[in-house]
């Protein structure tokens, strides 16, 4: 799977790049030289779109988000947001950059010592000098957007997993970010919460005019809501395309992923000696 990624959509990537808000160009990253987590990733997210990055567990999806936040820097290549390289930013610029980002963590990462209201108010209080009444109204609006206005005075521990995820979503959009990043937003949710969160991500993207990147392995839910999908395996983009073309694809990896087969290009067995040798 080291060949050039299969571009399955009719529109070539270059055309979409014209209005690209987020761009990864030949990005490689590894904590040590010999073990690369990402190698030569090219990824483009046009303004206003909802793009999914998919792949099995541990394929480096989350690393892409951390690169975008400026928490880590690529070993090779460039991460550009609005044409500016994230790696070249100073500490202040990175903080300014992060203020325009909203990120939803895998399990919500709500602050356990604060109420729901204070959680959503947290980024507003930290970055603005708004009076308390205004903050209260803003928080209730955000909570209303995710349907949880009534939970304002509860502690995160009193919420179900699905509700906690929605509160985290409200916190993510508290400062009306330009770019929203979602790290496994569907992990550990029941089917109803899952589709609620999915619909909400799409709605918020369109209503607030955000650009969103969704890192997930939930192909079924993603296909319902996203505009464009990248498949990543072993640190490389191995397939990309819009939803209809993914559905129609004959690429063996995409097929295995979409149909959920246990064995295929991604092997069921961890590399090992031949069976006969181990049981000799």
């Amino acid at each position: 799977m080291t060949a050039a990624p299969a571009n399955l959509s009719a529109v070539p990537a270059a055309a979409a790049a014209a209005d690209a808000l987020v761009e990864l160009r030949d990005v490689s990253f590894g904590y040590s030289k010999d073990r690369l987590i990402l190698s030569g990733i090219n990824l483009t997210v046009p303004r206003g779109k909802l793009v999914a990055v998919m792949g099995g567990s541990g394929c480096g999806k989350t690393t892409i988000l951390r690169l975008l936040c400026g928490q880590i820097r690529p070993s090779v290549g460039e991460v550009r947001v609005e044409g500016r390289s994230v790696a070249a930013m100073s500490r202040e610029e990175i903080y300014a950059h992060r203020r325009r980002l909203g990120m939803l963590f895998q399990f919500g990462a709500l602050f356990t010592d604060m109420t729901v209201h204070d959680n959503v108010a947290f980024p507003i209080r930290e970055h603005t000098d708004l009076p308390e009444e205004v903050i209260r109204d803003l928080v209730l609006m955000k909570l209303n957007a995710v349907g949880l206005r009534g939970t304002a005075n509860l502690k995160p521990s009193e919420l179900s997993g699905g509700m906690a995820r929605r509160v985290a979503l409200a916190r993510t959009i508290a400062l009306d970010p330009q770019i929203a990043l979602y790290d496994e937003p569907f992990a550990g949710l029941d089917p109803i919460s899952l589709s609620v969160v999915g619909q909400m991500i799409r709605r918020l993207n369109d209503a607030l005019g955000m650009t969103s990147i969704l890192v997930t392995h939930d192909i079924m839910q993603s296909m319902k809501i996203v505009d464009y999908i990248y498949f990543i395996s072993e640190g490389r983009v191995i397939a990309e395309g819009d939803v209809p073309s993914i559905r129609a694809s004959h690429d063996p990896f995409v097929r295995q992923f979409v149909d959920g087969e246990p064995d295929g290009p991604v092997h069921f067995h961890y590399p090992a000696k031949p069976l006969a040798e181990d049981f000799a």
């Binding site: 992060r98 399990f107 990462a109 602050f111």
Partner: protein, 265 residues
């Protein structure tokens, strides 16, 4: 021979590891100092941590102080009675408490009650990505989470140590004067004549301030440095208590040598 070499190699590796860790702690300490502006501008953050570290440790520290003072009086009476010097009981109790037991035992109790809680809390925030979430929200977790807890501990411990000593003296008074029947006048009078507020009490306070910095730093560092797993956090909590205890006792020795060496020669 090869076993000796292996032993030495292990010793070497352990030493390098320890020095490396000391380096991390030092850097972390300066990072806390650099990021303490938020704690000054928003004292409410520190007040909340004083509540967590100080107010919630009040009961255990005060009870322990009272009991240790009472035991000191009982044991002291035994010994002093042999020399017919029971009226020096006040001196014995007060000096033991303000110079040694107050700062040291209060710090040990603080490390196990508040220090471990701080480590567990920060470790858990790291495990559940709350610290990472803050960072992505452009909020420095050292400024917002670590520094207030550090300063909360630094402020709380000296006050707790003073309360410990005070209740210890009171406990000594209860047993010595009320129970055993030593003359109250000579109990207080001898104490005041022999305890110097600069030499004995201020040095005790300085000790507890030094311990406060050490224990608070260890607690926040172990939490921040914890492996983001359940085992990692529990191991870090244990390390906080063990490292704090050893550090307190070692520092106590060094400080005592410097402060009270006038009494030795």
């Amino acid at each position: 021979m090869s076993m000796l070499a292996r032993l030495l190699r292990r010793l070497g590796r352990a030493s390098i590891g320890a020095i490396e860790r000391l380096g991390f702690v030092t850097r972390f300490y300066f990072a806390i100092l650099r990021q303490s502006g938020t704690s000054v501008v928003r004292p409410q953050l520190v007040v909340k941590e004083i509540y967590q570290a100080g107010v919630l440790s009040l009961i255990i520290v005060m009870m322990s102080g009272l009991f240790i003072g009472m035991v000191l009086a009982l044991q002291g009476y035994e010994t002093l009675a042999r020399f017919g010097a029971t009226e020096s009981m006040g001196v014995l109790v007060a000096l033991s408490l303000v110079r040694e037991l107050g700062p040291v035992v209060a710090a040990l109790l603080f490390a196990s009650r508040a220090g471990s809680a701080i480590t567990a809390e920060i470790g858990l925030m790291k495990t559940t990505e709350q610290l990472a979430a803050m960072e992505v929200m452009a909020v420095d977790p050292i400024a917002r989470v670590v520094a207030p807890r550090f300063w909360g501990g630094v402020i709380s411990l000296p006050l707790l140590a003073a309360l410990f000593s005070m209740l210890g003296v009171y406990g000594g008074y209860l047993v010595g004067v009320q129970l055993i029947g030593i003359d109250g006048g000579s109990f207080w009078g001898q104490m005041q004549a022999s305890v110097d507020w600069r030499y004995d009490i201020m040095n005790g306070v300085i000790k507890s301030i030094v311990f406060a910095f050490a224990v608070s730093l260890i607690a926040v560092f172990e939490g921040y440095d914890a492996k983001p797993t359940a085992e990692g956090v529990s191991a870090a909590t244990t390390r906080t208590v063990v490292t704090s205890a050893l550090t307190i006792l070692a520092l106590d020795f060094v400080l005592t040598v410097f402060m009270f060496r006038g009494g030795i020669n």
